[in-house]
Symmetry: C2
Subunit: 210 residues, 2 copies
DNA sequence: TTTTTGTGGGACACTGATGTCTCATAAAAA
DNA sequence: TTTTTATGAGACATCAGTGTCCCACAAAAA
């Protein structure tokens, strides 16, 4: 405590860490956590719409100063990374609630699509840009989430889904419908209420009348 | 001809127009037209992938100098406008070849989707960014092309397509599948050969097995 | 109270993209 | 040939976005 002002070296940075919670882990504390979540949420929304939006736009949407944003995420890359990971976590939570392993696969698919719409902003951000998924995850995995592919595969095994295509194709088709649908809602062409049933109908039965 | 060097005023710009073809219309002449088309084609491809790509990237893709690009299209907006109009024209030509008014609507839809894939780069550029269509066209029309909406509507009247949704919905679903499919081809996940049949199958019959 | 923490507002230098110009050089037309 | 046309390369000023600092202020904790 006595070296606070006498120390000229980079130890002054310790002042930034010391106030952290005793558990010494991430900044989940009241004020810090709230600000952090506000920034991550705003980032997903703003950068999901326009990947090249200026950071000032993110700060404005999060209702924080640009200084504060840089204080939490030093540069753009770190913000994007953190937002990506946070989005995956948020989506994962929604998937858990959808209980993908329970009941018939077809009904699980319906719950999953509805869950995707609920966390639409995160989905658009995380899966809307192919370059993102490939940049993170250390490039080892495919960019289609395991559990989703598995669910579609189960649907095929149960004889409910078309087996003429790979389950990965269904993942991308679902994303495409979700992106398009959310965009139509944003631009006010269709109501949010109609979105899920419409996507489900088209996804399952296509455009043909029977 | 005698005022070429003596004139100091902006009439010197006439030197740029005088060499134009006698018909005094657009620059469709050999060299000029070729360069112009090369730039427009490259712009559709590059800007379709990344709307914020630097103009130097467009110039490189078109195999012209950045100076030349600016000579044809003074600023970014003019390039985008010209590329948009050119893309619409190119797409329109593809639609004509598809003969949307002939035969059963369902078969016309199949020809139309195949035609979209053929001019994929233009489709991605022109219809991939909602803001584009809304910025041009003097904002009066809807951004779904008349003829395409009409074709889907005809499909509904003929009893071939689902009448529970507006024909405009089909337009966006088709675009979504085309964008996704082309992206999967670009990233080498599926072969170009399989693309059209796969999109048609999913678009018409959906994911359900029957 | 005093001290610590979180914050916003500027000011600043730096960088990449942009748009304008000039000049030299080929190719095409006279 | 000479003249015109189309082009690429480079220099240049400008601008928006970025990242870094510093300072003052308010809320929370001591």
């Amino acid at each position: 405590m006595s070296h606070k002002k006498t120390c000229l070296c980079t130890l002054s940075e310790l002042g930034t860490f010391a106030p952290m919670t005793d558990t010494a882990d991430r900044a989940a504390t009241g004020a810090r956590g709230r600000t952090r979540r506000a920034i991550l949420s705003a980032a997903a929304t703003v950068l999901g719409q326009d990947r090249n939006a200026p950071l000032s736009a993110v700060a404005r949407a999060a209702d924080v100063g640009r200084s504060t944003l840089h204080r939490y995420f030093p540069d753009r890359d770190e913000l994007v990374s953190a937002t990506y990971e946070d989005s995956l976590a948020e989506i994962g939570r929604a998937m858990e609630e959808a209980r993908l392993h329970e009941g018939p696969a077809l009904e699980a698919v319906r719950r999953m699509i509805a869950a995707h719409i609920e966390v639409g902003d995160r989905v658009v951000f995380a899966f809307g840009d192919p370059a993102l998924a490939q940049a993170h995850d250390t490039g080892e995995e495919a960019d289609e989430p395991e559990e989703i592919v598995a669910l579609f595969a189960r649907g095929q095994e149960e004889g409910a889904l078309d087996t003429n295509v790979e389950p990965e194709w269904f993942v991308h088709v679902m994303w495409a419908l979700v992106f398009t649908g959310l965009d139509l809602v944003h631009t006010g062409r269709i109501s949010r209420h109609d979105l899920v049933p419409r996507i489900l109908r088209t996804f399952e039965r296509g455009a043909l009348v029977r």
